[in-house]
Symmetry: none
Subunit: 226 residues, 2 copies
DNA sequence: ATTGTACAATGAATATTCTCCTGATAGAAG
DNA sequence: CTTCTATCAGGAGAATATTCATTGTACAAT
């Protein structure tokens, strides 16, 4: 999930970025409205978080611009304490939700969660099980046939991505975009390397294989043997 | 004591929140059923207060969901005047008590009191014991394998937080938010330092280790070795 | 009131461990 | 044979652990 955060106060944006990354989102930060606009139009994000008060172009104006550009990406506005007018204005210019500063981080997460899922209409169970593979998003534990497996964060994201897209062929580009973030475009073989790591951990000593190569296309996560 | 209040009417929720905070509870408010659900599943509360009529997911449905997720947290339903059907339905879906709006605040307090006491009697002992670790919330004494351990107040809170959230990975942000009460705070490694203090006192000379690092994510409190 | 001691809380500095990624080569597929 | 994929190893860099110095606070002794 790629999020664009447009917020000029350095300590606030650092706080939000760090927290969201801990919650396994990719976050790009823009420190003023203009840069925010450029980033938003050049890349594809799943969510915008906008401060109302911004240098260059303010948050409300940005909302209007994004909607005028037909971006349907959900928008979450951040507004200072007590400025009810901003809220009304924000929601009327196309924002989907708002949050009053200062806020508790868990509240932000809950709202993001609501926005994303409402849109995608998909609920991911924190505990998932498939062909003897169990993953628990609370404890970040992964097991295959009962054997605990230790994954690095990157490997864990990749596995989650495969699970979310099980049964569908995914190209390296698609995988890189989701798992590494869309600022990532070097012609490297990271995806291959990480698929290899993951295979060694979750497929090597077990059957059936779950990660399959589709030559010339990419990879697919499914139960069937080939 | 952490309470999650799920109530969409702003004046009602503000009233309840204020009153409960004066009675020294910590209160999170969700304005619709979906956000309520997310908050409930992501954090640990001692009590839910649910309105029956809510946007997104209604109170009865929430009850059912919480029970299906094996949350044993007591549930107090708020229901509009005279709707006996709601009451019956609520209690049958897993609510522990109900209150008919409008209500007197002291009545709410009395019911909360009763629920909490019932809960304390059956689940949370002021004396908690886990893998050779004993903590006594009355005397604030902590022992590991019978050896008394002296903790500073902050260390004690941190330990309690870990115990309440045992089995779940908690990020630094979440920990800081709950144990330090910070909003916006990054430029510090207090959490790391205190985890280190705590480890030296409760884990260093004992086995199994209880506080585990999950790189890139945070910490988890559990018995398993790694 | 003032000093002094003890300890708690915190941020910064340093040390250590772990993860990520690149680039090269070997191997498989078409 | 050519293109695509798998695998490996090591350095760069990030994340975490640990130590250190500073500040604040409680409280007893002067």
């Amino acid at each position: 999930m790629n999020i664009l955060l447009i917020e000029d106060e350095a300590h606030v944006s650092a706080f939000i970025k760090k927290g969201l990354e801990e919650a396994s989102f990719h976050v790009d930060v823009a420190f003023d409205g203009y840069i925010g606009k450029v980033l938003a139009l050049q890349n594809s994000y799943d969510l915008f978080i906008l401060d109302v008060i911004l240098p260059q172009i303010n948050g409300l104006e940005l909302c209007r611009i994004f909607r005028a550009e037909n971006l349907e990406t959900p928008i979450l506005m951040l507004t200072a304490l007590g400025s009810t007018d901003d809220i009304v204005a924000g929601l009327s210019t196309g924002a989907d939700d708002y949050l009053v500063k200062p806020f508790k981080f868990k509240e932000l997460l809950a709202r993001i969660d609501a926005l994303m899922r409402r849109k995608e209409n998909r609920v991911i169970n924190p505990v998932f099980s498939f062909a003897g593979l169990e993953i628990n998003d609370f404890t970040k534990e992964v097991k295959r046939n009962g054997h605990p497996i230790k994954l690095t964060p990157r490997e864990f994201f990749l596995l989650k991505y495969f699970i979310e897209n099980r049964g569908r062929v995914k190209t390296r580009t698609q995988i890189a975009e989701s798992v590494w973030g869309n600022s990532y475009d070097t012609g490297s073989n990271v995806v291959d390397v990480y698929v290899n790591y993951l295979r060694n951990k979750i497929d090597k000593d077990f059957s059936p294989r779950l990660i399959h190569t589709v030559t010339g296309m990419g990879y697919i996560f499914k139960e069937g043997e080939e």
